[in-house]
Symmetry: C2
Subunit: 243 residues, 2 copies
């Protein structure tokens, strides 16, 4: 049976998160309902990163295994006719048996966009977090550098998880582009609300409310209360997944 | 009596255009209703450019004259508490008597954003026109160069206007930024749907459907039917107004 890989983007504002839930609109729910209509029977999909309500994606990956004899390009067109314009399937391909969108992923990359300007921007209100205070990007980059490497990120995870909260962050940095401050972070995996929690810490460092040099102490505390408020979901974009 | 200048931006998707109309949501309607609440009596505003439904603004200017004794910064805060998040008042200032947002304007600048990529982008669907065909930016810039100067733009105006359709275009050019093709155009004034009509022509030139060298013939025809389909409203942003 062929395994199909779907690459997709979506506007998270339109959904109550990625993961299917009864009686609310979710990305997985819309996608599987469209697959059901196209294939004529239900399928279950895996995905690379279950984003929270309001979080967007440019490079989400979903996959399913099915005996459907359907051309990938035609499947993409049929799905786009059903799921648009809030979701777009940018590619469909047939991949090796055993490919799993979640467990085969080697890394995930996210971006977080802060609009650092005196006034909010109505045109970018769904894709940026507006912070009017001046931000010290050097301080934010010192904080970000402290995340890189393998650490126990319990202090930056929303839930106390039964499983390990040790993660390996491969890259983390801020760049300024006009009135945007953009955080790019890549890790083998993330725990729940970790990116938004890292961003909350960095922005507090950029505002001078916390020293960026406290990152290692916060990591060592292993306790959510040692961290800072988390950033809102709508500035976050699941950018790319590596396999 | 002081004259107040309001600088504002808005998400045109949320409105049926700028100009006040009975029983539909418009930018002017929301703004004047907020002014009424703050000042305690109705005022009438002028504006630099009455944008159509779906068209956005970053640098719209409105103005009114009133004997209100109110601090401009406080007026901005009060208005933003009422009109956000679809509209933002970025500045309020007291200007010379006789200032009129429309008639005092020396020029208007617009931007039009084309997403030139194989797939649409759910996150930018309200602020770009998605064109998947490859676009020849050189051809588009040759067409744009033909608009510059003083011409009768009747061929690029939606309505047959009783008044003159002669306008002076000061600048017109396309630049590529990643997957965006952005048109910047500045003129003393524009006639109705002129920018979208210029963009429609340029994109047809970029697709190879019309030669950019026909611009002068189309201008000379003085007839709407000589032009090309107009571009959709949601890629258009009123960018800046000069006084």
């Amino acid at each position: 049976m062929p395994t199909f890989r779907l690459d997709l983007g979506y506007d998270g504002s339109a959904f109550r998160g990625y993961a299917r839930q009864q009686s609310v609109r979710t990305v997985q729910g819309e996608l599987e309902s469209a697959l059901n209509r196209v294939l004529g029977h239900p399928v279950e999909t895996s995905c690379a990163g279950r984003t929270d309500a309001g979080v967007h994606a440019r490079g989400q990956v979903a996959a399913f295994t099915d005996d459907a004899d359907i051309d990938p390009a035609r499947l993409a067109r049929s799905l786009n006719g059903l799921v648009g314009p809030e979701i777009v399937v940018t590619a469909v391909s047939v991949v090796d048996a055993g490919f799993d969108a979640r467990f085969s992923a080697a890394w995930r990359a996210y971006r977080y966009q802060v609009l650092n300007a005196p006034s909010p921007d109505p045109l970018r209100r769904h894709v940026t977090w507006h912070v009017s205070d001046p931000l010290d990007l050097d301080a934010m980059n010192r904080a970000a550098a402290g995340f890189v490497g393998e650490h126990d990120f319990a202090s930056f995870c929303r839930r106390a998880e039964a499983r390990s909260t040790v993660r390996r962050v491969l890259e983390a940095s801020w760049v300024r582009a006009d009135d945007l401050a953009v955080f790019s972070v890549r890790a083998t995996a993330f725990c729940h609300q970790m990116v938004r929690s890292l961003v909350g810490f960095c922005v507090d460092a950029g505002r001078g409310r916390v020293s960026p040099d406290t990152v290692s102490a916060v990591l060592a505390a292993g306790d959510r209360s040692a961290a800072r408020p988390i950033a809102p979901p709508h500035g976050l974009i699941l950018w790319e997944v590596g396999y």
